[in-house]
Amino acid sequence: MKLTGAQALIKSLELQGVEAIFGLPGGAILPVYDPLLESSIRHILVRHEQGAGHMAEGYAQATGRPGVAMVTSGPAATNIVTPLADAYMDSIPLVVITGQVAASVIGSDAFQEADTTGITMSITKHNWLITDPYDIPRIVREAFHVATTGRPGPVVIDFPKDIATGELEWYWPKSIDLPGYRPTTKGHPKMIREALSLILQAERPVIYAGGGVIRGRACEELVAFAERTGIPVVTTLMARGAIPDSHHLCLGMPGMHGNYTAVTSLQRADLLITLGARFDDRVTGKVSAFAPNAKVIHVDIDPAELGKIRRPDVPIVGDVRQVVAEFLRGLGEGDLGQQADLAPWWAQLEQWRKAYPYTYDRTNEAPPIKPQFVVETLNRMAPPDTILASGVGQHQMWSSQYWSFEGPNRWINSGGLGTMGFAIPAAIGAKVGRPESTVWAIDGDGCFQMTAQELVTATTERIPIKVAILNNAYLGMVRQWQEMFYEERYSEVYLSPDLPDYVKWAEAMGCVGMKVEDPSEVESAIAKANSIDDRPVVIDFRTDTSEKVFPMVPSGHSNDDIVLG
């Protein structure tokens, strides 16, 4: 059977089980958009290619399946660079297809030509420039394999126009031949035994769970392991929901804006059981002062993470799910002796928990609204299985702090790269992947203005997301730093609460728009938003500019210098 390259690409995507593509057509990718008309794959037409990339990320984070985006060459490819970098930092499986000028004119500075594989080389797990139509099925298969196995990540297929119009005899590769790509999934038995012996001896152990636990689908194993040993768990920004926040073993988020108990538990620990985490500077603070008395067990599927920042006492390369299952099996055999008594450790942890919860002025009844109150109320009124997306900044930290995450894949945010404007497109992608779940985006006014044109996409494609803007009229996190570290010299951070008019913006884009200024109206507005399911909703919450995110470990300081506010 002869197919054109374009037909072969679409057919290959279908065979990979792709159900949705986020994209925007243009010159070089035009031939591929033609057979798409006959395909079962849903295409979501975005308004900007960055939106397509973040939507694919939101889709992938909500479903655990790879997100797919397709854009044209040149400026479209460069517009999707930010989502690629974002997905690379947060290990999100993405397959991005970029159009390219005809192979015959590559290198001639043709119209809308950009060196996409060159530009994206350092922010993708791998990328391919297709030079022969015959390679299409093989490369698509390889691309999905690389994106989703090992440590997941984004990949790019650069697809020249004459490859799309060329022909090939159709086939589907039976196997994948990548001699240089063989992720280790099974932990070394000797290392696992060494880890278990440390785990049983430890008197102040903490499980430091990172995003790898969620990407590696190891949440059930994590909870079982924590319950079996009674060891407390901290969940990093990327791991929120890996163990339910309501679980008594969950201490919540560590790091720069983590809670006192989680931060200090790591500082005082004698053993860190690090699962799919990477000792990010936002967690460790000053590395030399991080968890100074702790031995470290480090489990990661990416060997390069072991010893990158902190040298582990027991390094284990492997799939976190398999390794934790091995831990449980090893503990079940019971030949390793008794576990140390954790009661004194828990007594200490409980005392911190009681003494230092997250706090803000809950008694406030007058405008402006406390942003934390909005997050808490949204959380309280959210239907079960609600997915929460956020942008980057103060609102992101409040979301992570005051929302109770009860399961994995319900918290969608940009952790490593910290991409402002992430929330709205990511929420749209999540809703496409999980249409039965309510999807809220908590956004800042600064973030909102970066990508809010995608609300048009949401309306026209009937993707009814809900957006809560915590509008404090500032680039809030920058303002916080200028207040605390630059002697209140505010430089270029004021945004105005009324420009743009967010209600009109929402309405112009086919959404329901609301403005809420009084704390007493918060609940009714959220109830109204929750009841609307036929179009997107945007609520402009006027929040208190002076609120800062606490606790806070000042940048470059030891976690012991935590400021409670």
Partner: protein, 194 residues
Amino acid sequence: MAADSPSSLVPIGGAIRTPKEFRHHILSVVVENKTGVLARVAMLFSRRGYNIFSLAVAPTDDERFSRLTIVVDVDTAPLEQITKQLHKLVNVIRISEIDPSEAVECELLLATVQADAATRAQVIELVNLFDGRIVDVGSSKLTVMVGSSPHNLDNFESLLSEYGISEIQRTGRVALQRLEMPTSKRRQSRGRVS
């Protein structure tokens, strides 16, 4: 390239951590022979702030693969991190780490040097001492070629510079592990990742 002294090196990504002294290690990296692989390796070094001291690329006896001989400066990053990051490149098949003390190394040098009637004989003698060849002859200059260990070439270069070098080009070294001697025990140090 080691033209004069270490301070004249152009550090690739070295702006991040400029080392005080250079300690070199040789990585022999077998990669898939595909377009862009060299760029991936080079970009990885630049992106992570590692220093490449020299680099040689050539096909292997199997046409599907090429071999890169990379001399890295291990003061800019631990060798373990460099090899682990290299292993993450999909096109990298195998990495062997060769300690310079256990390596047979070779490098080629081409130089054009001032050689008038008064000094010509001395230059030729020097080239002969290093088992080199005269590959081009001009009225007042000679172009000479020497293939030897990098250390010998350093010596040759400084001796030759007395006469006035007008152009010089070195290839970067290639290396293979020294063969096992019946008496000594060779340390196995492969670029293995846990």
